[in-house]
């Protein structure tokens, strides 16, 4: 290589790693070995969820030339083949494998006749070179779909007006738990509530459960505390649900668990920060989640014992965003979304997960 020499300064190198960050990297490596960027294509990607056999990962990515919004893709973890599994139009988010059938659920707005116009407008905006802060719009058109593994056909599971998303299957594939803002569209809102809906629709998000073979009927609401409840997943034994609950201002969130009927709600964290995106390790012993405890824009991964008796333990040490952790079904790997590849946009990263070290660190953690 030919690197221009400038006053004995070697040019052509890109950036330099701060020594302090190297120390941090070695701490991170006790939990996560051989971390690497998994997704490369497209502007951003995130939320990778494993198939039951660990051979596939379903995720969302902005990588389609004529659609600036997320679409859903499946990556074959052996061959590297990547296939789009959502229809290609509109916005989509929050996919999940049915552990039994291999069907894939996700939320989508592709039935919205305005989809194409919205895509074009967003592309035009991006082409203009303007930038705005990344934000999620809680589109009330968002409904839950499932794509059949056998036929590739789509089936719409929810019809209600309101944002229906953040859905996941129970381990036996029989139930779906999700978050919805439908209450804001079902009843007459007060003036204050209407204003709230305009500025922050997620305020109306609550957790719901339905049968996986549902047609939109028989949905049960599990939470009723004011403020955004979202991101629910089943525990590995299928007996409890873990989710995040925001305060009324939408700035502070904590990790909670509850029974499938909404009873026995327990709070696992108390950082006074935005703690969210919890996922229970397949061992059932602890939760990995994201929090901005260390800085408003610096999300790191933490973990906490399943009962929240100890103080959470920090997992990642990297500037920017680390979140949405999902352990592989055998518990030996972790897929998560991170901006550590550079820039502000997230991509999916993959690393070996050191379960034994995680258990030891949790044992050593002080009581809460």
């Amino acid at each position: 290589m030919r690197i221009a020499i400038i006053g004995a300064c070697v040019l052509g190198a890109t950036c330099a790693a701060a020594a302090a960050q190297q120390v941090a990297a070695s701490q991170e490596r006790e939990f996560l070995t051989r971390p690497r960027r998994l997704t490369v294509e497209g502007r951003r990607a995130g939320e990778g969820y494993w198939s039951k056999d660990g051979r596939k990962l379903v995720f969302q990515s902005e990588r389609q030339a004529d659609n600036p919004f997320y679409q859903i893709y499946v990556m074959d973890m052996a061959s590297g083949d990547v296939e789009r599994v959502s229809p290609g139009a509109g916005k989509t988010t929050c996919s999940f494998f049915n552990p039994e059938t291999g069907d894939i659920l996700f939320s989508s707005t592709h039935h919205d006749p305005r989809s194409k116009t919205q895509q074009e407008e967003e592309l035009k905006f991006r082409a203009s070179g303007q930038e705005r802060r990344y934000s999620w719009d809680y589109d009330p058109e968002m409904d839950i779909y499932v794509r059949s593994a056998k036929t590739g056909a789509y089936r719409r599971l929810t019809q209600a007006r309101g944002y229906d998303a953040e859905a996941s299957y129970s381990p036996d594939g029989q139930w779906i738990v999700f978050s919805s803002t439908r209450q804001a569209y079902e009843r007459e809102l007060s003036a204050a509530e209407r204003k709230q809906l305009d500025t922050d629709p997620s305020f109306f998000g609550e957790i719901y459960i339905m049968r996986a073979d549902a047609d939109g009927s028989g949905v049960r609401r599990l939470t009723s505390v004011t403020g955004y409840d979202g991101g629910p997943f089943f525990a590995p034994d299928g007996k409890r649900i873990i989710w995040r609950r925001f305060d009324e201002q939408g700035l502070i969130a904590d990790i909670w668990t509850m029974n499938l009927d909404g009873t026995d709600q327990r709070k696992l964290t108390d950082f006074g920060a935005m703690s969210w995106a919890p996922y229970i390790h397949p061992s059932g012993q602890y939760v990995i989640f994201a929090s901005n405890k260390l800085g408003f824009e610096n999300f790191e991964l933490f973990m906490v014992d399943i009962d929240g008796k100890k103080q959470p333990v920090r997992v990642t040490y990297s500037d920017g965003f680390d979140g949405l952790p999902v352990p592989s079904p055998d518990g030996t790997q972790l897929a998560w979304t991170s901006s550590r590849g550079g820039g502000r946009e997230g991509q999916i990263f993959l690393a070996q997960w050191n379960h034994e070290h995680a258990l030891a660190a949790l044992r050593a953690a002080p009581a809460r």
Partner: protein, 615 residues
């Protein structure tokens, strides 16, 4: 070194390598698994051996290395390009230049002309034409022209008529201007820029004098290492303060003129020197040498009629710095004259290319031809790859892609850097898919303007990628040896790249080229004159400038900086990367203390660095 005949050496090398257990030839036997690629280790060990003396372009060592590579390619099943008898593409280049007896004579009014011919008084600039010019003299200040596109408004020639004149300019840029002005003017203060500006305005000769208020005051400019084949269309010399005094004898002293100009005020102009005439004889002796690219191919397995862009190219440079390196060496003084073996730079890249060729040779189906290019004279200016794309045996528009390998043998923490990904939208999806199995911690850099051969192919509009594991403490030193190469990961890099080459071979349509705009940051910075004695290290994605070392006795060492420190601010300029740093260097003043904030471990510290002049 001992002299060998070329043929003997080639045989010896091949024989020496053949005795190694994992030699490529041993694996071409029928028993070898079809998917196995030749291991990289024997190639690196042969190329980085003392026998090949560091493979300096144009040397007998480089010829021997070329012969070795041609023999290895033959063994792997590659052949000379269609219509060629052998695998060599020769090209000539300028290996060095020295002054060929330049002179300057100054005549002012009726006084007798003063003639200067000593080396200390007059030196041709390395890019000068050989010419003898006589003409009236115009002083054009610093001779700086900032392009109008910069919206800055500085043109030393704006009010002057220099047509057919001898133009005298000051070296460097205005000394007292504010930081921002200096930062802009510094970018256009390279002597080549000044010569070009003078020539474009019709001047016949350029005379550079280092002003009394500048570093290196009054001395001539040392002949720079320059690979230019011919002059740049103008006679150009630098002269001493004695010559300067003779030129300015009849009017305003040079020191006063410089002081006015040093404000950086764009309205301070130069002036004609009535009655002063100069005769300039500029003479540059350029040493011409011949170097060789080694170019071969694996033919497609079926006719390529109807295949759009039926070639995929892989390449790496095989030359290095040799023993008596040019300015490229970073060897410590006690190592002067030792061979720079260049195991990582770039025996590793060549080994990767040979391994890829070996892997693809065993592939039953190849829809496109695989072109294998091993370039020479990369270290002195990407000359080999430039010669290839300048007179390509295969037209550049027939190349579906080019994959470049430069320093791929020192992997740290599983990190692989892939550069030039912006040259085609096809790269991100291919890299994502291939890396799922390869499993590298990829850093993706869109910029193709890299200091390696990928630049040449980008300029020829070929979609390209360049692979590297980055620089290290042994970069450009005799200590870059074969025992420090991480062969297991080098084999992995080769396997991943072979998978990419396979995909591109199948791709229909081929990758579409995307032109990446060159950012101002990557423009060559030959005008830098500050010496800080810092040796930046390489790594990815973090903030600051990590020092891989400091030059003994240099300003950085005197300031207490050491290897491992991370500079985050210098003279009030935040430093987030190497470009910030080189930019900040323009803003420093020689001899004027600059505050440096740096991290040592987790400590944030502060020191004062006093920049020195770079000659």
């Amino acid at each position: 070194m001992r002299t060998w005949t070329r043929a003997t050496l080639a045989v010896l090398l091949t024989a020496a390598v053949a005795t190694l257990p994992a030699h490529a030839a041993a694996q071409t036997s029928a028993q070898a698994p079809a998917s196995a690629a030749p291991p990289t280790r024997p190639f690196v060990q042969a190329l980085a051996s003392e026998r090949l003396g560091g493979r300096e372009a144009g040397s007998a060592d480089e010829r021997a290395a070329g012969d070795y590579l041609a023999s290895q390619l033959m063994i792997l099943g590659a052949r000379p390009l269609p219509g060629r008898k052998d695998m060599f593409q020769s090209f000539t280049f300028t290996a060095g230049s020295r002054d060929g007896g330049s002179r300057a004579a100054v005549t002012a009014g009726s006084t007798a002309s003063k003639v200067f011919s000593a080396a200390k008084d007059v030196q041709a600039l390395s890019f000068s034409d050989d010419a003898e010019i006589t003409g009236p003299v115009v002083f054009a200040g610093y001779g700086i022209v900032v392009p109008e596109s910069q919206g800055f408004g500085y043109d030393s020639f704006a009010t002057l008529d220099v047509k057919d004149k001898v133009v005298v300019v000051l070296r460097y840029f205005p000394e007292d201007a504010d930081q921002q002005t200096r930062g802009i003017l510094a970018r256009y203060s390279d002597l080549r820029y000044k010569a070009m500006a003078a020539r474009q305005r019709g001047a016949r000769a350029l005379v550079v004098v280092t002003g009394p208020r500048s570093p290196n005051a009054g001395t001539t400019v040392p002949m720079a290492f320059d690979t230019a084949i011919a002059g740049s269309g103008i006679a150009a010399v630098s002269v001493s303060s004695d010559v300067g005094t003779a030129i300015f004898a009849g009017g305003k002293p040079l020191a006063d003129a410089q002081k006015d100009l040093d404000t950086g005020n764009p309205h301070v102009a130069g002036f004609a020197l009535p009655g002063v005439e100069m005769t300039i004889k500029a003479a540059v002796t350029r040493e011409r040498r011949t170097a060789r690219n080694v170019v071969a191919y694996l033919p497609a397995t079926a006719p390529v009629t109807g295949v759009d862009k039926p070639w995929v190219a892989v390449g790496a440079h095989y030359d290095h710095l040799g023993r008596n390196a040019h300015s490229g060496s970073l060897a410590a003084r006690e190592d002067a004259g030792r061979a720079h073996l260049g195991a990582d730079d770039n025996a590793s890249g060549v080994a990767a290319v040979l391994s890829i060729a070996g892997a693809l040779a065993r592939q039953p189906m190849r829809k496109r031809h695989l072109l294998i290019g091993l370039w020479s004279a990369e270290e002195i200016g990407l000359l080999g790859s430039a010669a290839f794309v300048g007179a390509p045996p295969v037209p550049a528009d027939q190349l579906a892609a080019y994959l470049n390998f430069d320093m791929v043998g020192r992997m740290q923490d599983n990190k692989l850097v892939v550069q030039a990904t912006g040259t085609s939208a096809a790269w991100a999806p291919i890299l994502e898919r291939v890396n799922v199995a390869a499993g590298f911690d990829l850093t993706v850099q869109p910029d193709p303007f890299q200091p390696t051969d990928v630049s040449s192919f980008n300029q020829a509009s070929v979609p390209s990628l360049s692979f590297t594991t980055g620089a290290h403490a042994d970069y450009h030193k005799p200590s870059d040896t074969a025992d420090k190469i991480d062969y297991e990961d080098l084999d992995r890099v080769a396997a991943m790249a072979a998978a990419i080459a396979r995909r591109v071979m199948e791709l229909d349509p081929p990758p579409q080229f995307v032109k990446v705009e060159q950012s101002a940051q990557t423009v060559s910075r030959t005008g830098v004159r500050i010496f800080t004695g810092t040796v930046p290290d390489y790594a990815s994605a973090a903030k600051g400038l990590l020092l891989g070392g400091v030059v003994g006795g240099g300003p950085a060492e005197q300031a207490g900086l050491q290897k491992g420190d991370v500079i985050v601010e210098i003279a009030g300029q935040a430093i987030t990367n190497i470009y910030d740093y080189t930019y900040a260097l323009d803003l420093l003043k020689i001899g004027q203390p600059a505050k440096v904030i740096y991290l040592r471990g987790t400590d944030r510290r502060e020191t004062t660095l006093i920049p020195a002049a770079r000659r």
